[in-house]
């Protein structure tokens, strides 16, 4: 019953479109507030808006039928990673960042490089041919798991080693005295 309602909500064209615009606007707005908040320069505010960005991005993942990834996005990013960020911010006891004068050269260089990247993106966007048929893909969790443990089993194991290495590295880095 509930599943049906959700399916109707997701497959019903007009509603999906409206939801896409809502989530996209939220994502971009919160993204702007992460890097340039007019009211606060504190990193904690940036972190909070990053959480909102990630949550609305999980909404976009649901609209793309990537339900498992939406859940992982919330659990890993909004949960674990952001807690780590906030923990470090509290640990460092950062003072409110005073407004330093932006160097003209830095600002100019930044805008030029971002403009270049955007121009390249827009050119590649123009080359995309509109898809004919409606997308059929259902990113169901069993399918994803089957692919992960058959075709991608070697990368999966390597990633687990990577996590171990990262853990050892972090413990070594955060020791009081590096030997």
């Amino acid at each position: 019953m509930e599943m049906e309602v959700i399916n109707n909500l997701i497959n019903g064209g007009a509603v999906t479109d409206v939801l896409f615009y809502v989530f996209a606007a939220l994502t971009l707005l919160c993204g702007v507030l992460v890097i340039a908040n007019p009211f606060s320069r504190s990193p904690v505010t940036s972190a909070m808006f990053l959480v909102l960005t990630i949550l609305s991005m999980a909404g976009l993942f649901v609209l793309l039928h990537a339900f498992f990834l939406a859940a992982v996005q919330i659990l890993v990013y909004a949960g674990a990673v952001m807690v780590l960020f906030l923990f470090v911010i509290m640990l460092l006891d950062l003072k409110e960042e005073e407004r330093r004068k932006l160097k003209l050269f830095g600002l100019l260089g930044g805008l030029v490089s971002v403009g270049t990247v955007l121009a390249i993106f827009m050119r590649s966007l123009a080359a995309i041919k509109p898809a004919g048929a409606a997308p059929q893909l259902e990113g169901s969790t069993p399918d994803l798991g089957r692919l992960l443990f058959s075709q991608y089993v070697l990368p999966f194991e390597i990633v687990s080693v990577l996590l171990l290495v990262a853990m050892v590295g972090v413990i070594l880095l955060s020791k009081k005295k590096l030997e």
Binding site: F20, V34, A36, V72, F85, F121, L125, Y152
Partner: protein, 101 residues
């Protein structure tokens, strides 16, 4: 107009540009790091939408790996920032100039 691949890609591009702008303009190491996360997330969004509109699940598996690697990267990076802060008492890039010629 029906929402298609172009719409998702536009959002992803804009988010990537925002992250790049944050890395270039902000001077706080931690906020720069958050901007890096924004860029990674933009790549994830592009991959998921490609996967959806090409009817292939491989893109989603790649996003799964990216999320895992990003988690490891955040842990190591934040440990580095903490180690730097212990030595310098600062998390501003302008105070970290010992490798400048």
């Amino acid at each position: 107009m029906h929402v298609g691949l172009e719409h998702y890609l536009t959002v992803s591009f804009l988010l990537f540009a925002l992250g790049l702008l944050g890395v270039i303009l902000r001077r706080n190491l931690i906020v720069m790091y958050m901007s890096l996360e924004l860029m990674l997330n933009a790549a994830n969004l592009a991959l998921v939408s490609f996967s959806r509109f090409n009817n292939k699940l491989d893109g989603q598996v790649l996003v799964f790996f990216i999320i895992t690697v990003a988690a490891a990267e955040v842990a190591v990076g934040l440990a580095l920032i903490v180690a730097l802060y212990r030595k310098r008492q600062s998390a501003h890039v302008e105070d970290l100039t010992s490798m400048k010629l």
